[in-house]
């Protein structure tokens, strides 16, 4: 069959001579054939109305012999009519439709553009530009039952002032077909959109759960949510439960954050949602997010109240964790429709985003757990390295000191600590005995301990030369105190306020048996006399730990001061770290100093090595099955 619509269109000027009954019949048969074809295409789900609207308009105009016209499609979400096809082709702005106008439009089958009903005068005033451009004479609302779907506007009728009755009947049939096409197209679009969304939901969940880096997981969660909801923006904020804060982890697009008032915070944008945070009367987007995380329910925010992302229509849902706590908030902004219109999020959207957020929670927790495991492995490796450093700093064997016995014990118990002891020979024949406990754990503690040891050795070698010239006790006091200040300065420069070392230094002159000591915040060593009486060394003249404060502050708090004791045969000095006295048993009791005194008194007549073993066994026996978290260090000096 030839296409009668084109010849008709081309020969409309000769309408009168060619408008025979035969031609009319041919026109009708062609139109019906075209409509059937279009109907089949629509039913196949492989077409949409916007695409076929031009053909519908061409058929309608050709069949009714009208040069100009337009088809307008109604968007219920935007409450406006969009021109989807027009002859001549031109771009027109959408025309808004008020609720009462919608009712009026549904009541009419045909509306004369020159004499519209009163209730529609405003509407036709708004559509005047389109009416003038197309020269619209007749409007036909497109509807199925009570659902308004759009309008068709028809221009000047060729060679007649009005449509004949049979033409109106034909027009009614055509508009009904077009209405069905729109309704069907809406249904197909809806099904396609839902199919896409469900597929994306099913597809994205396992994908995001496989991501191991928290940053990647955050990025994918936001992007998938944006795509899933047809939004044009999105963000993920995670909670810091202790601080009661929400922190921005990813925003899409990047300009979303740059446009906000809090741009100086960048991606680290933080919102406090604690109890003390006042909530404004008219909830802003920030208030909505606080509410979402506190109440654990979805929230919405209109553009006028969005102070966070520069005026977007927002929907936010909580991200639940495995334990039922709220991991964060997933936000999407500005849901778009075809044509770029922004449309409100629906209840179905809330359900969809909520479902996705549950998957997102699993993905985020997976990534966090992976990250924690990775960090734990790195920490473990660092601990092992630190342990090697620490063990290498502790002497494998202790020297023989004429007239004395020395024994040492170091036992790691838990994370690497910073215990240290040493017995260093001086060129004068004197000896330097040191014990220290560096705060913190791991590599930093081990390195601080290494710094302390290096500083000690360096200072002792410097002091030796001076000592040879000035051997009196007063000079020695000064020399040792100066050394402590230098070590303090060295450690302070090496670490932070949290990194410091308790330190006890003893200078032994084996010829005079004078033990000159200095305590920098360490547990006072125990001097057990041969008769069983005891004394805590450095208890009364103790300075503060090394590296905690700068030297000028140390002077104002408590200067390092040395003192001395005279040792006699059978005297024992027990140096130890707090790992000894703070050993706990299964009843959560501490070993404490009293037990150390009792044990030391019990074994004081043993050789140094025997005392070491006895004290160690005593602590172990006390400890029983209880877990310990601090290293145990002992250094025994016994005057033969």
């Amino acid at each position: 069959m030839k296409d009668p619509s084109k010849p008709l269109g081309d020969s409309l000027g000769t309408h009168k001579t060619q408008n025979t009954a035969e031609q009319t019949m041919e026109r009708l048969i062609f139109s019906l054939s075209e409509l059937e074809h279009l109907g089949q295409t629509l039913i196949s789900g492989h077409s949409n109305f916007n695409h076929s609207s031009k053909t519908y308009l061409r058929i309608t105009l050709g069949t009714l012999q009208i040069r100009r016209g337009a088809i307008l499609r109604y968007h219920s979400t935007g409450q406006n009519l969009d021109v989807v096809a027009a002859t001549p082709e031109e771009v027109f702005s959408p025309i808004s439709v008020e609720a009462d106008e919608l009712e009026a439009l549904l009541k009419h089958s045909f509306i004369d553009n020159t004499d519209p009903p009163k209730s529609l005068k405003q509407f036709f005033a708004r559509s005047a530009k389109l009416s003038e451009a197309i020269d619209i004479r007749l409007w036909v609302p497109l509807k199925i039952q009570d659902e308004f779907l759009g309008m068709i506007g028809l221009g000047k009728f060729l060679a007649r002032d009005a449509l004949e009755a049979w033409e109106k009947e034909l027009l009614t049939t055509l508009t009904h077909q077009i209405s069905i096409a729109i309704a069907y197209s809406q249904m197909v679009e809806g099904i396609q959109s839902e199919k896409f969304r469900l597929f994306m939901l099913a597809e994205s969940a396992p994908q995001i759960c496989q991501l191991l880096q928290p940053e990647d997981a955050a990025e994918q969660v936001v992007q998938q949510a944006v795509s899933l909801l047809d939004a044009n923006a999105g963000a993920l904020m995670l909670t810091h439960t202790e601080q009661q804060e929400l922190e921005m982890r990813y925003a899409f697009p990047e300009t979303l954050i740059e446009n906000t008032a809090s741009q100086d915070n960048g991606n680290g944008l933080v919102i406090s949602y604690g109890e003390d945070t006042p909530v404004s009367e008219e909830p802003t987007s920030v208030d909505v997010l606080k509410s979402v995380v506190k109440e654990g329910i979805p929230g919405h925010c209109l553009p006028k109240s969005d102070t966070l992302f520069g005026g977007k229509n927002l929907m936010a849902v909580p991200i639940p964790g495995r334990d039922g706590d709220i991991l964060g908030v997933l936000i999407v902004g500005d849901k778009e429709e075809r044509g770029g219109r922004i449309t409100p999020f629906t209840d179905e959207d809330v359900v969809l985003l909520d479902s996705f957020a549950k998957q997102a929670g699993v993905a985020i927790e997976n990534a966090q757990l992976h990250q924690e495991a990775l960090e734990a492995r790195q920490l473990q490796a660092e601990m092992e390295e630190a342990r090697k450093i620490q063990v290498n700093l502790i002497p494998e064997t202790l020297p023989d000191i004429p007239g004395y016995e020395v024994a040492g014990h170091y036992e790691p118990r838990g994370p690497v600590g910073g215990d240290y002891y040493d017995c260093l020979p001086l060129s004068t024949g004197h000896w330097g005995l040191a014990i220290a406990d560096v705060s913190g754990k791991g590599m930093q503690a081990a390195l601080l301990m290494a710094t302390l040891r290096a500083g000690l050795i360096s200072e002792l070698s410097r002091a030796e030369s001076i000592e040879q010239e000035t051997l009196n006790q007063s000079s020695l006091y000064t020399e040792i105190a100066n050394m402590a200040m230098i070590l303090n300065s060295l450690l302070y420069a090496s670490g932070t306020e949290e990194k410091y070392a308790t330190f006890f230094y003893s200078h032994l002159n084996p010829e005079t048996d004078v033990l000159t000591t200095l305590n920098a915040g360490h547990n006072p060593p125990l001097l057990i006399k041969k008769d069983g009486t005891y004394k805590w060394l450095g208890e009364d003249v103790g300075g503060i730990p090394l590296g905690m404060f700068p030297n000028d502050m140390v002077s104002s708090i408590a200067d390092y001061e040395a003192e001395h004791v005279q040792l006699a045969s059978g005297d024992v000095v027990v140096y130890y770290t707090d790992g000894v006295t703070e050993t706990v048993n299964v009843e959560d009791d501490y070993y404490e100093e009293e037990r150390l005194v009792e044990a030391s008194q019990a074994c004081k007549d043993e050789p140094a090595e025997g005392i070491r073993k006895y004290l160690h066994n005593a602590v172990m026996e006390f400890q029983g099955e209880a877990d310990q978290f601090d290293d145990l260090t002992l250094l025994i000096l016994r005057k033969q």
Partner: protein
């Protein structure tokens, strides 16, 4: 990449390649549709759409791609896609886009199979 927003066209004698960059939503989709329609109306009905730099597509982007396929079908043209991520490829198959358009791993094979 997603924050950028661009369309590049490489025209040859018998075909054209349209390369998109960024989120294929309504805004980028409309641009893509406009460019594709210009090419089709100009008689170029052998098209390749390269989505390598478009990792994110929403349902509106999908519907716009379907419209381009329909326009080409009317003109007995051919459309091949390339540069799809595995998810995009599965999406295209599930949405029946793959029934009416070819999917190829790279631009070279997509052009060769027009």
């Amino acid at each position: 990449m997603l924050n950028k927003f661009d369309i590049q066209i490489r025209e040859a004698q018998e075909h054209a390649v349209i390369e998109t960059t960024g989120y294929l939503n309504d805004a980028l989709g409309e641009q893509l549709s406009e460019k594709a329609q210009e090419l089709i109306q100009g008689g170029c009905v052998q098209l390749v759409i390269n989505l390598e730099k478009t990792t994110l597509i929403n349902s509106i982007g999908i519907s716009i791609l379907i419209e381009i396929i329909e326009s080409l079908e009317e003109r007995e043209g051919t459309l091949n896609f390339c540069g799809l991520s595995p998810t995009q490829e599965r999406t295209f198959r599930m949405m029946a886009i793959a029934k009416y358009a070819g999917i190829f791993p790279d631009e070279e094979s997509a052009v060769a199979n027009l």
